[in-house]
Symmetry: C2
DNA sequence: TTGAAAGCGCTAACAA
DNA sequence: TTGTTAGCGCTTTCAA
């Protein structure tokens, strides 16, 4: 049996109320009383029981990270990074974290309900009705790696626009005038930002700003390779391809190989994500680094601000990206 | 304010004890009473408060997954897979999961203490003294991806020996007689199994079973590439290299390229992990698939068995591997 | 600054 | 089969 507040009270000779205060409002108990309490606690290896505390306080200090995503690999490198950031930041505070993956709404709903969380960080493609229900239930909600227009909810995203710009300007700086982009089927927000960035940046540099240079495909090696085969067989074939993630960029490299084109001499390729595979590829893949860790940390910060009742919580937090130039471009 | 058991009691006209029973021991309340209770609960959107329940039961039904690992990328693809399995299996039961990474013991200790967990799954390199302390504190403990001799504790591991055998026999089947293995600096258990497997399997097939063919290096592309450069410059240079993970295998492919050797014609390469990068490499990497998901699920099962007081919990659970042959061999 | 006491929402032993 | 009741370990008024 673990020691309780009563044991500490008895040993230190003060009431349980004082012991309680010593732990949760130390400044409200006299210096020497406090010392007595802590000494007794030390002797007994006492630490407050979080369950009982939650019960009395009617607060759990518990938050959830809910990844709304389909497919087998829920926790891919990207979300694992976000997750790491969230864990790190949660550990630093007194909050507790429950992680759940939920393609379906029932699981999601259960998680937030049964686990008694007070706030949730939604990753992936959370549907607006899910969000609404959570908010109705009086939960604090933050979106990570997503943004939904017209919804009163803080979100933390990476600088999609800036990331595309960095990649494109790098390629343009290398002299490329005919650049294609592989757009994966990501969320509307991400896709929107990337289209906009591609068109505006190419135009700003006097290149033909044409959606013909944007190719929509699945974010898989094969789908990207096929898309590239088509791109590279055009009359005016691109000399550089910007993949919407590293997997697609790898597909582009494969397409080049099949056509006997050398990377980067005949075709420059850049990716996005800066995943661990970049260094494994040959040539190594230039990629836009996304600070997933930071995104995770910031989502926790926003959620805690919300929970603390702060009124000026930023609606949009943009995490900068950084280009990592390697052999493929 | 959420509805409580009292609200349901009032609305359904039965005592709170009966409501409680209806939820936790349905078979102990009469059919129609039960129906009344559930109807009232439905109307009120009631569901039992887990905190209060834990308080009364003096049980939390909460387990922790503790990844004991150094370095920036705690949640790599491997552990993310295990984590997914753990989450999936935990979701299926009424248990709650808290995930924590802990290179240091303090965090680990805190996690299990403050979060009031009843059992922990230890991933990575858990030190024996950590384990002992957890067990002393009367917690159920299971090891995943590790095994420590002489310790009374269930562990779930992948079939390291079998994995090495599959890779080697595949290469031998392809006619290779001079095979080298890159051993990463993994845990003593894993390293031990792999050495043993390499020596026994090569010997069994009449190849020179010599530790000279095993090269210890860091599990990074660069370290592996260097190690291979040395291997490939030997008089009797290997015609096949088995990397201890996919990253090292990628390093081997790079070494081959630098020496102008073609893969797989001049040098066959196989990896281990079957990570997502396999399909991105060129040629695609043959690799031994590890069923991380399953490992995670089984660790939860073992932990729950322990928690349920079962006495015949298997001490060692071995998860089979499977060779995925691709272009690199 | 400290203490007494009333909960927080539920379970489980016991009684009916 | 159902109800009564005494906790579970803590926080937080309120009074001293």
């Amino acid at each position: 049996m673990n020691p309780t507040i009563y044991d500490v009270s008895r040993l230190s000779g003060v009431s349980i109320a004082t012991v309680s205060r010593a732990f949760s409002n130390p400044e409200r108990v006299r210096e020497d009383t406090r010392r007595k309490v802590f000494e007794a606690a030390e002797v007994l290896h006492y630490s407050p029981n979080a369950i009982a505390r939650a019960m009395a306080r009617q607060r759990t200090d518990k938050i959830a990270f809910l990844i709304c995503k389909e497919g087998a690999t829920i926790l891919d490198e990207f979300y694992a990074g976000i997750c790491t950031g969230i864990m790190r930041e949660t550990n630093r505070s007194d909050f507790e974290l429950v992680i759940s993956t939920a393609a379906d709404w029932d699981t999601a709903s259960n998680t937030s309900k049964n686990k008694q969380v007070e706030g949730v960080i939604l990753g992936g493609n959370a549907r607006p009705d899910m969000i609404a229900e959570l908010q109705n239930r009086d939960l604090a909600v933050v979106l990570v790696n997503n943004r939904i227009q017209g919804l009163d909810i803080p979100c933390v995203v990476s600088d999609e626009y800036g990331g595309v710009r960095q990649a494109l300007e790098h390629l343009i700086g290398r002299g490329h005038r005919n650049i294609a982009m592989l757009a994966g089927r990501f969320s509307p927000y991400i896709l929107g930002e990337r289209y906009r960035a591609f068109l505006e940046v190419t135009q700003a540099h006097g290149l033909p700003a044409d959606t013909r240079h944007i190719k929509l495909c699945d974010p898989t090696v094969e789908s990207a390779a096929e898309a590239c085969l088509e791109l590279l067989s055009r009359q005016d074939r691109p000399t550089a391809i910007f993949g919407g993630n590293d997997v697609m960029a790898a597909g582009a490299m494969k397409a080049a190989l099949r056509l006997g084109l050398r990377v980067p001499e005949d075709l420059a390729v850049t990716g996005l994500d800066d995943s661990s595979a970049c260094g494994m590829l040959e040539p190594e893949l230039t990629s836009v680094h996304i600070d997933c860790r930071r995104m995770g940390e910031l989502s926790v910060a926003r959620l805690q601000a919300l929970l603390a009742g702060e009124t000026d919580v930023p609606q949009v937090t943009v995490v900068p990206t950084e280009l990592r130039v390697r052999g493929s471009s």
